[in-house]
């Protein structure tokens, strides 16, 4: 068994070492794979706030991932075509600046999470899962029919957006940027877990009626968690779209929401590094097994099955010997 703190440091060190090795070995595709893992981990770190701390099994988190992606796609496409965006009588210039795009992605995702949360948090259990799924499908079909931004075919961005002081087209530099954002999100998550808000949210997940009698409003706690969670997943969506320089309605798909849940469950629900370990394993299997057979999801399913049956704390729980929260 290994202490969770050491395991966390080990995972981050390994995640950093792989692209550095790939750089030395001149394997740029491995760096792109690592970047993909980092971005998926970031999206799952966002979902883990709602799922792990708040017990909210959201099957609609792809909404925020997609909104982040489309925030990037729309702003960058207007910048590359030199045409301003007309919105509610306002004229907005497009931009190729990542910080501006990130901020837009965070705000839009947070606002959407607030609206969706206000409605869906009135329900719980299977109804919450279904209502978040329904929102996901609404956004998915809206994106398909949104011909102004590519409809079903999606939207291509020719040049990756810029970040001050970095050449984001160099894979290792873009990896470094995404890795830094992931570390910040993990830091925020770690601070949240020990904060009065995090503890109250955890308590609200366990006994909602009881937290009310100690003066806490579980609905408000869960809504705030959902908004924070959506904002982080939205930021991941913007980074993902920039990685691929492509946005499409699949970013809103329920399969993606499901995959995010799967990678958290594999890594460890409510564990700080659960989403990171899950994302790394997911991307590794996708690349490695995907090269052998197109039915690689079968193996992922088998791993998920084993973990659910024999390791309720996910891989982190298995390695540290500690059970995770009972979601």
């Amino acid at each position: 068994m290994i202490g969770e703190r050491y395991l966390n440091l080990l995972v981050l060190a390994a995640l950093m070492a792989v692209p550095l090795w790939a750089l030395a070995a001149d394997e740029p595709f491995t760096i792109t794979l690592a970047t993909r893992a980092v971005i998926l981990a970031l999206a799952a770190v966002g979902l883990n706030i709602a799922l792990g701390m708040g017990g909210l099994v959201s099957l609609g988190h792809a909404v925020f991932f997609g909104l982040g992606g489309y925030a990037m796609g729309i702003l960058a496409s207007h910048a590359q075509s030199y045409t301003p965006l007309e919105l509610f009588g306002l004229t907005i210039e497009g931009t190729k600046s990542m910080p501006v795009i990130w901020l837009t992605a965070i705000i839009i995702s947070a606002l959407a999470a607030w609206g969706i949360g206000l409605l869906s948090l009135r329900t719980s259990g299977v109804y919450f899962i279904m209502i978040t799924l329904a929102f996901g499908q609404m956004f998915y079909y809206f994106a398909i029919s949104w011909s102004a931004y590519g409809g079903e075919d999606g939207l291509s961005i020719y040049v990756r957006n810029g970040f001050p002081g970095l050449n984001t087209l160099v894979p290792i530099e873009y990896f470094g940027l995404c890795f830094a954002v992931l570390c910040l999100a993990l830091l925020l998550n770690a601070r949240l877990q020990g904060s009065p808000f995090g503890l109250a949210l955890n308590a609200a997940r366990q006994v909602p009626a009881r937290v009310e009698t100690v003066g806490l409003d579980p609905m408000r706690l869960k809504l705030l968690a959902f908004v924070l969670s959506g904002a982080i997943t939205g930021l991941a969506g913007a980074l993902f779209a920039d990685l691929n320089r492509f946005v499409s309605p699949t970013m809103f798909s329920w399969q993606l929401s499901g995959e995010l849940i799967v990678l958290i469950v594999i890594g460890g629900v409510g564990r700080l590094m659960g989403p990171v370990i899950g994302a790394c394993l997911f991307v590794t299997l996708e690349h490695w097994l995907g090269g052998i057979t197109e039915f690689w999801h079968v193996f992922l399913g088998a791993i998920l099955l084993l973990i659910v049956l024999f390791a309720r704390g996910g891989i982190v729980g298995l390695l540290t010997g500690k059970e995770g929260p009972h979601v």
């Binding site: 955890n202 308590a203 366990q206 009310e212 009698t213 003066g215 009972h326």
Partner: protein, 228 residues
């Protein structure tokens, strides 16, 4: 002026009426025992006070109509509940259980751990791994961390070993002696209730049938409605 005023309180679970006419008053710093046989409406009255169940009648805390407030806002006025069955947050440690509910005031981690030293010794232990008595202490500590003006203890010593019950009764006596906190007690042990309570209110089939000074509680009333 009373801290808590209840008069003509009624409450129904669907079509089944549980409370008909509950009357109860608690002054600041007063300890009141709410007594009655099983199923007579003691816990239901507590749930009405904490706004966990909708009720009718007069329900006023510190001049504010509790019927206008949701449960969490009623608690924020200064009502701390130690529920029947403890209901600690199982996945959180002792320290986290206490900090999750903390609000500014005289009661903090240090004060609670001074009242119950066992909690201090098990600071980083998960609540699920504590014994029943320790969980009860944690439930009381958790309520104290909200710095209530009225502490409600619903069957706080039920099912516990005699030595643990003694510790809890000693803590309640200390709360009465050292703080200006009003306490509403529900318990089945008459002797301890008599030692610590200023007043008694007896409920029978959802109605207040007797209320007055604990010292003046006639033996025949106690025998008839409480069974001891």
């Amino acid at each position: 002026m009373s801290l808590l005023e209840i008069s003509g309180l009624s409450l129904s679970y669907g079509s089944s009426q549980a409370l008909f006419d509950v009357n109860l008053e608690i002054a600041p710093g007063e300890v009141v025992a709410l007594m009655g046989r099983n199923g007579m409406g003691k816990t239901t009255t507590v749930k009405a006070i904490c706004r966990m169940l909708p009720s009718q009648g007069r329900l006023v805390f510190d001049g504010q109509d509790l019927h206008r407030l949701p449960s969490h806002k009623a608690a924020r006025l200064g009502i701390g509940l130690v529920p029947e069955g403890r209901r600690c947050f199982r996945d959180l440690t002792v320290r986290e259980n206490l900090l999750a509910t903390a609000r500014p005031g005289d009661w903090g981690l240090e004060e609670v751990e001074a009242l119950f030293p066992r909690l201090g010794e098990r600071d980083s232990q998960r609540a699920a791994s504590l014994s029943g008595g320790e969980q009860q202490m944690l439930a009381i500590g958790r309520a104290l961390m909200t710095n209530p003006r009225l502490l409600i203890l619903d069957e706080a010593t039920e099912g516990l070993a005699p030595i643990i019950r003694q510790e809890i009764w000693a803590a309640i006596a200390r709360l009465k002696r050292d703080t200006g906190m009003a306490i509403l007690l529900i318990d089945k042990t008459l002797r301890e209730l008599q030692q610590v309570s200023d007043k008694a209110v007896i409920i029978e089939r959802g109605k207040t049938v007797w209320s007055g000074d604990m010292a003046a509680l006639p033996a025949d009333v106690s025998e008839r409605y409480v069974g001891v």
